[in-house]
């Protein structure tokens, strides 16, 4: 799914705050659809945040993370113009990634 990741990364010179919103159903596998059939599990399992090539956060998610998952964290360093890359993979093997500029 191209463009599934929305990122807002801003640096105040000493630290960079990252907010990410990922477009994904995050089906836990416990929910039934209108006809009463179980919706199969389909959720992101691993998310990798990296700043200029080195990991700044690794997220491991289960089916209990909300639909269109949101993450906010911060790390020391990083200045405006640097690259921030985000990539995810879900339990069905789908992947997506993006690179954003820190503002």
């Amino acid at each position: 799914m191209a463009g599934s990741i929305l990122v807002r990364a801003s640096s105040d010179g000493t630290a960079t705050t990252v907010q990410a919103l990922i477009h994904h159903p995050m089906d836990s596998g416990f929910v039934k659809d209108a006809t009463g059939k179980l919706i199969p599990a389909h959720y992101i399992q691993v998310v990798e945040f990296a700043h200029s090539g080195s990991v700044v956060l690794t997220a491991f998610w289960g089916g209990a993370v909300s639909k269109d998952p949101f993450t906010k964290f911060s790390f020391k360093g990083g200045k405006s113009g640097d690259d921030l890359s985000i990539s995810w993979v879900d339990n069905l093997g789908n992947k997506d990634s993006t690179t954003a500029k820190i503002s």
Partner: protein, 174 residues
Amino acid sequence: MQNTKTTVRIKSGPALTRRITLSGAAAATLAALLAPGFKAAHADTAAPMADASAYPAKAFAQKSKDEAIAALFNMTATASDQITFDAPDIAENGAVVPVSISTTLPGVTAIAVLALGNPFTLAAAYQLPDGTNAAISSRIKLAKTTDVVALVQAGGKLYSVTKNVKVTLGGCGG
């Protein structure tokens, strides 16, 4: 690299070291050395990509708090008042419950969230390399009113704080 923490850290970064691609068995042994229960999620590309093989699937399949903690950290947690755990008293909707965890504990390597009332208790786990501030916000789903546990692994020890979140139905039905 001056290593102040008790656990061995592999500092990633294009200049310093070549990515180490781990085969299954090697991965398991190294995992024990790293922040226990966690494996460094690196793949052999310029920017590290999310690597499915790093996923602690066993931990996410546990039904009870102790089993999940054992599978993820294989250590026991001690309650701590050094962790700030923001979660609503009453969730406006069990499908989107904003939770924030932050701590002043030094040397944080991992943060995790468990929802004891969910079918599988472990909701999310985060691995924090050096330099990443110990504060994570996310939104989780709660099946029903339950105790939610925030875990923080710092300095090779595991700390926890628990908060009860009420989840009720809304509306007047059909």
